[in-house]
C-alpha cells in the first residue's frame, strides 16, 4: 500500500490524469446512477437529451416512442443525405436520420401509443417502478390522458417528474409551441450574436440546437438535485418545469443589469469581445487547403487571438512589427474602447492577410501569445487532443457498426460517464422492457404489436 502510494506520487500530474480519465477504461469502473430508472416520453432534442445525460451516467433510460415511425427527430437529417438503417423492423426500407443521434445514447427503445387506454395502462406500470419521468408534450396533455404528474404521483410518490419545453405551462404565452431556434430568438442570445448592423451584420443563430441540448443539461442538473433531496432527506418526488426560453434569458451575462440600470440594450459585436481586447477572431488571408475540392476547406482560415493583458499586447505589437499601436494602445482601458477595437482588428487582419491560420498560430505560439485556430468539424474530429481525451470516439455500435461519436461532456475518475450505443431502431426493446416491467406475455406483446399499440 505504502509502496503504491509512492509510485503514484512519482507519476507526473499529466500521466496521472491520462490514466485517471482514460475513457477506454471506463467500462472497468462503476456507474454513478446505477439502479435509477428514467422514463423518457420525449421528442426532438430538449427532452431526449435531458434523459440521455442520465443514460451516460448509468441510469436505465427507457425511451418511449410512437409505434412504427418513432419520434419526429428520426426523420431529420442534414440535406436528407445520411441515414442509419433500419428505422424499425416494420419499416426496414427507411432509416433514422442523424438529427436523432447524440440525443439518445445508451437508451432502451420501446414504442407505446399513449392515445389508447391500453398504452396509458402500460405507462402507469412503468411509472410505478421508475425514479424519473421526463416528458415534453404540450403542457397538460399527459394530465388530460390521465398519465400526468397528478396521476402518476398517486401511483409513485417518489417519482421526480420533469417537464421541459419552450414557454412553460402557465402565463400568457403558455399555449405557444417552441423549438430550439425560437428559444434562442426570444430568450435573447440570438439578437446579441453576429456583427452589428453598421458593419453589415444581422442576428445570428448559434449553429447547434443550443437551447435544446444545453437546456436538457439544465433539466438533468435539476433532476439530480431533486434525486439527492429525495434520497437523502425527504423520500418524496417532485415536479420540475424547465422553460428553454427562460434558460436562454438566464445566460445573458451583463445585458439585463445594464439594461435595468442604464436603459442600454446590448449591441452585437461580431467576432470581437465587448469586455476584453485583444480577444477576438480575425481572418487569415490564405486557405489552409487551397487544393481541396470541398468549399469548407477552400475558404480562408480564421483564428482567435487572445492578448488582452498589457504584457501580451506588447508581445503582439512586436510580432506584427510595425510599432504602430504599441504605445497608443498599451493600456487595456484604452484598447478595449470600440473605436480602438475597430482599428486594432483590421490591423491584425492586414498582418495575417498573406498567412494561413496555422502560420499565424505558429508565430503566436513562438511569441507566447494565446491563440486558437477556428477548426471545422473535420479538423476537430481528427485532432489527437480530442481523440486522446475521448471527446470524439469510435463506437462499435451494436446496431449500426462503426460510428464516430461524441464522448460525454465531462470526465469522472471513479464513475465515468460512457457511451454504450448511439441509438437503436424503433421498438427494439419492446419485449425486454415490457416483459420485465409491465409483465406482458409474448402473446400479449404480439397482439399489441398487431394492433399497433406498441
Amino acid at each position: 500500500m505504502a509502496k503504491e502510494a509512492t509510485t503514484k506520487q512519482a507519476t507526473s500530474f499529466e500521466q496521472f490524469c491520462q490514466e485517471t480519465f482514460d475513457f477506454k477504461k471506463a467500462f472497468g469502473k462503476p456507474e454513478a446512477l446505477k439502479g435509477y430508472r428514467v422514463l423518457s416520453c420525449t421528442q426532438y432534442i430538449l427532452g431526449p437529451s435531458c434523459a440521455s445525460y442520465m443514460g451516460e451516467l448509468g441510469a436505465e433510460v427507457i425511451k418511449i416512442e410512437a409505434p412504427r415511425r418513432g419520434e419526429a427527430m428520426r426523420h431529420t437529417t442534414p440535406f436528407n443525405e445520411p441515414f442509419l438503417y433500419p428505422l424499425s423492423k416494420w419499416i426496414p426500407e427507411r432509416g433514422t436520420g442523424l438529427g436523432f443521434l447524440g440525443a439518445n445514447p445508451n437508451e432502451y427503445f420501446i414504442s407505446v401509443d399513449f392515445h389508447r387506454p391500453e398504452g396509458q395502462a402500460i405507462l402507469k406500470k412503468l411509472a410505478a417502478k421508475s425514479d424519473v419521468m421526463v416528458e415534453n408534450y404540450r403542457p397538460g396533455t399527459f394530465d388530460r390522458w390521465g398519465i400526468g404528474y397528478r396521476q402518476l404521483r398517486e401511483i409513485n410518490p417518489r417519482l421526480v417528474y420533469c417537464w421541459l419545453g419552450g414557454f412553460g405551462g402557465w402565463g400568457p404565452g403558455r399555449v405557444r409551441a417552441s423549438y430550439d431556434i425560437l428559444g434562442q430568438a426570444q430568450g435573447g442570445n440570438f439578437g446579441a450574436t453576429g456583427k452589428p448592423e453598421f458593419m453589415g451584420g444581422a442576428p445570428a443563430k448559434h449553429t447547434i440546437w443550443l437551447a435544446d441540448y444545453w437546456g436538457g443539461m439544465m433539466g438533468a442538473v435539476q433532476i439530480l438535485a431533486a434525486l439527492y433531496w429525495r434520497d437523502k432527506i425527504s423520500g418524496e418526488g417532485t415536479f420540475i418545469e424547465y422553460s428553454q426560453v427562460h434558460g436562454v434569458t438566464r445566460q445573458l451575462e451583463y445585458a439585463l443589469p445594464l439594461y435595468g440600470r442604464h436603459g442600454v440594450t446590448r449591441e452585437r459585436w461580431g467576432n470581437w469581445d465587448t469586455q476584453l481586447c485583444v480577444h477576438g477572431i480575425i481572418k487569415c488571408g490564405k486557405s489552409s487547403y487551397p487544393n481541396s475540392d470541398n468549399p469548407q476547406e477552400q475558404e480562408e482560415g480564421y483564428i482567435l487571438i487572445s492578448a488582452y493583458d498589457d504584457g501580451d499586447f506588447a508581445k503582439l505589437s512586436k510580432v506584427v512589427g510595425d510599432g504602430k499601436f504599441a504605445e497608443k494602445y498599451a493600456k487595456h482601458d484604452v484598447r478595449v474602447k470600440p473605436q480602438s477595437q475597430m482599428e486594432i482588428y483590421p490591423w491584425l487582419e492586414k498582418w495575417a492577410a498573406d498567412k494561413t491560420k496555422e502560420q499565424v498560430a505558429e508565430i503566436l505560439e513562438k511569441a507566447g501569445i494565446n491563440n486558437q485556430p477556428v477548426w471545422n468539424s473535420k479538423e476537430v474530429a481528427n485532432h489527437p487532443h480530442w481523440q486522446q481525451r475521448g471527446a470524439v470516439q469510435w463506437l462499435d455500435d451494436p446496431s449500426f457498426g462503426d460510428l464516430l461519436h461524441q464522448g460525454p461532456a465531462y470526465k469522472m475518475s471513479h464513475t465515468p460517464p460512457r457511451v454504450k450505443w448511439a441509438l437503436k431502431p424503433v421498438g427494439t426493446d419492446n419485449e425486454y422492457i415490457l416483459g420485465k416491467l409491465a409483465g406482458l406475455s409474448s402473446e400479449e406483446l404480439r397482439r399489441l404489436e398487431e394492433q399497433e399499440c406498441i
Partner: protein
C-alpha cells in the same frame, strides 16, 4: 439621463391572463401556478442546502457558472478570490466604468457580468500563491463537499493542494477542475485561455454564421456560451459524484469539465456525419440543415422565426401565407419535390421554401406574423433584443426577468434561475457581494480565526 423604472408596462394579473377561459381550461395552468410560482420559493426547502462548495476559480466564467447552478439550488458556495478580487470583477463593456455597479459602503466597483453570476455566493479572499494561504485552503477543504478550480494544468498539484493531496485530507471531497480545452493532452490549457477559445476549438465557430457565398464568416457566440455549457456539465458531474458518494461509496472523486468538450458533446451529428462520408458541416446561416421550415428570416421590422417541419404544421404555415399569396398553391403545394418531409431538406428546396416565405415576411412585422401563425398553432416569434426580453409580457408574468434590491448595489435587473420546481425550487437569495465581504463570517465560523489572525494575515497579504 433618467431611466424609466422597470417594468415600463405593468405585469399582468392572473385574472387578465386567464380571462374568458372556461374553468376546465384554466384548471391546469392554475394548478401549475400554485406549485411553481417563484413568490412561494421561500416557503420551501432547498435541494442542496447540506452541501458546501469552495469555488476557487478565477478569471473564467465556467467555474462561476458551475457554482451558480449549485448555489441557486441551495448549496453554500464560498467564492474564494485572490486579495483584491477576481480580475473578472473588473470586466465591463468597452471598459466603461459608468456601467459598473458600485458598493454603497466602500465604493468598490464590479462589472455586470461578474455581478450576474455572483448569486447566493459568499466572497472570501485567500492568496493561494503563499504557503500560508495554501495551508488555510487545506483547512477549509476539510469542511467542504465540493471544490472547483481552474488553475493552469498541474499548478495546484505542484502546490500540494491538487486532487491527489486533498483527497488524503478529505476523502469525501468532490474535486472539479474546469477549463477550456483540458488539463492534459497535447492542447492543454495555458494561463489566460478564455472563452471563446473553446468555441473556436470545438467546431462551433466554424459552423455558425452565413456561408461565405452569402457574405458570411465563422461567427462566435456573443456570450461566453461554451463556459455556460461547460459549467452546466461540470455541475452535472459534481451532482452525480455526490449522489454516488452518498448512496454508495462514501468517497469523493475527481471531475474534469471543459467548455470545448461540453460543446463537442452537443454539436448535433457533426462527428458521425463526418465519419460516414467525410462531410464537413457547413455554415447555413439562420436556416437548419436538417429541418425545413425551421429558420429565422428577415421580416418587415426585424427578424422572424417560423418553424414547422412535419406535415401538420407545414400545411398550416402555407395556409397562412397562401391567404395573402395566391402563388403558394402552385409554387409550393403543387411542387412534387416538396411533398415528402425528407425531400424538403435538399438545399434547392430550402432556397425555394424560404424565398416564398421571405416574400410574405417582408410585408409582415414580427407581431403581425406571429399573430397570424399563432392562429394556426404554428411555432413562431420574432428575434428579441434585451430591452424587449426584459419587457416581454410572458417573461415578466412568470418572472424570467426580475429586479432585486441589493444592500450593496441597489436595484439590479437580472435573469432569474430557470430551476422552477414544486418542492425544492432554485432561487435568488442575494446578487453580488463585495470582495472579501464574508471573510469574518467564514473564517471565524469554519476555522475559528481570531482578531489577531485577521490582522496578521491581512498584513501578510494572505487574505
Amino acid at each position: 439621463p433618467k431611466v424609466a423604472p422597470w417594468p415600463a408596462i405593468p405585469i399582468a394579473k392572473p385574472d387578465e391572463v386567464y380571462a374568458g377561459l372556461s374553468d376546465q381550461a384554466k384548471e391546469y395552468p392554475l394548478f401549475l401556478e400554485s406549485i411553481l410560482r417563484q413568490e412561494k420559493n421561500f416557503e420551501k426547502p432547498e435541494a442542496l442546502s447540506r452541501l458546501r462548495v469552495l469555488d476557487c476559480s478565477t478569471r473564467m466564467m465556467i467555474g462561476h457558472w458551475c457554482s451558480s447552478m449549485l448555489s441557486e439550488l441551495g448549496a453554500e458556495v464560498i467564492q474564494v478570490e485572490p486579495p483584491g478580487g477576481d480580475p473578472l470583477r473588473r470586466n465591463t463593456p468597452f471598459g466603461r466604468k459608468e456601467y459598473m455597479f458600485r458598493d454603497k459602503e466602500t465604493g468598490e466597483e464590479v462589472g455586470g457580468q461578474f455581478l450576474h453570476e455572483m448569486r447566493n455566493k459568499h466572497s472570501i479572499t485567500l492568496n493561494l500563491e503563499t504557503e500560508e494561504g495554501r495551508e488555510i485552503l487545506k483547512r477549509l477543504v476539510t469542511h467542504a463537499d465540493v471544490l472547483i478550480e481552474n488553475g493552469p494544468p498541474g499548478q495546484w498539484d505542484s502546490w500540494g493542494i491538487g486532487y491527489r493531496q486533498l483527497r488524503e485530507l478529505n476523502p469525501r471531497l468532490v474535486y472539479c477542475w474546469v477549463g477550456q480545452r483540458g488539463q492534459w493532452g497535447p492542447l492543454k490549457d495555458k494561463p489566460g485561455v478564455l472563452d471563446p477559445t473553446a468555441q473556436a476549438a470545438c467546431g462551433f465557430v466554424h459552423g455558425t454564421g452565413d456561408p461565405k457565398e452569402f457574405g458570411g464568416q465563422p461567427t462566435r457566440s456573443a456570450l461566453w456560451m461554451a463556459d455556460h455549457v461547460g459549467g452546466t456539465s461540470a455541475a452535472m458531474g459534481i451532482l452525480a459524484a455526490i449522489l454516488h458518494r452518498d448512496n454508495v461509496s462514501g468517497e469523493g472523486q475527481f471531475v474534469e469539465a471543459t467548455a470545448a468538450e461540453a460543446v463537442i458533446r452537443i454539436l448535433d451529428y457533426n462527428w458521425a456525419w463526418h465519419s460516414m462520408d467525410g462531410s464537413i458541416r457547413p455554415r447555413y446561416g439562420n436556416w437548419d440543415l436538417a429541418i425545413n421550415i425551421y429558420a429565422v428570416n428577415p421580416c418587415k421590422d426585424g427578424y422572424m422565426m417560423v418553424g414547422g417541419g412535419h406535415d401538420r404544421l407545414w400545411y398550416r404555415i402555407w395556409r397562412t401565407v397562401g391567404d395573402e399569396y395566391a402563388t403558394v398553391e402552385e409554387d409550393i403545394l403543387g411542387d412534387p419535390h416538396l411533398r415528402e418531409v425528407a425531400d424538403r431538406l435538399a438545399h434547392d428546396m430550402q432556397v425555394k421554401t424560404y424565398t416564398m416565405l421571405g416574400e410574405w415576411l417582408k410585408d409582415n412585422p414580427r407581431a403581425e406574423a406571429e399573430r397570424k401563425l399563432s392562429k394556426q398553432q404554428v411555432a413562431s416569434g420574432g428575434v428579441l433584443y434585451t430591452n424587449e426580453v426584459a419587457e416581454y409580457p410572458h417573461f415578466k408574468y412568470r418572472g424570467h426577468v426580475a429586479e432585486t434590491e441589493s444592500p450593496h448595489y441597489g436595484k439590479v435587473l437580472y435573469g432569474t434561475t430557470p430551476f422552477l420546481q414544486q418542492k425544492t425550487p432554485g432561487r435568488l437569495k442575494w446578487l453580488g457581494r463585495p470582495t472579501g465581504y464574508d471573510n469574518e463570517d467564514v473564517y471565524r465560523r469554519l476555522l475559528g480565526f481570531t482578531r489577531e489572525d485577521f490582522k496578521r494575515l491581512k498584513q501578510a497579504k494572505v487574505i
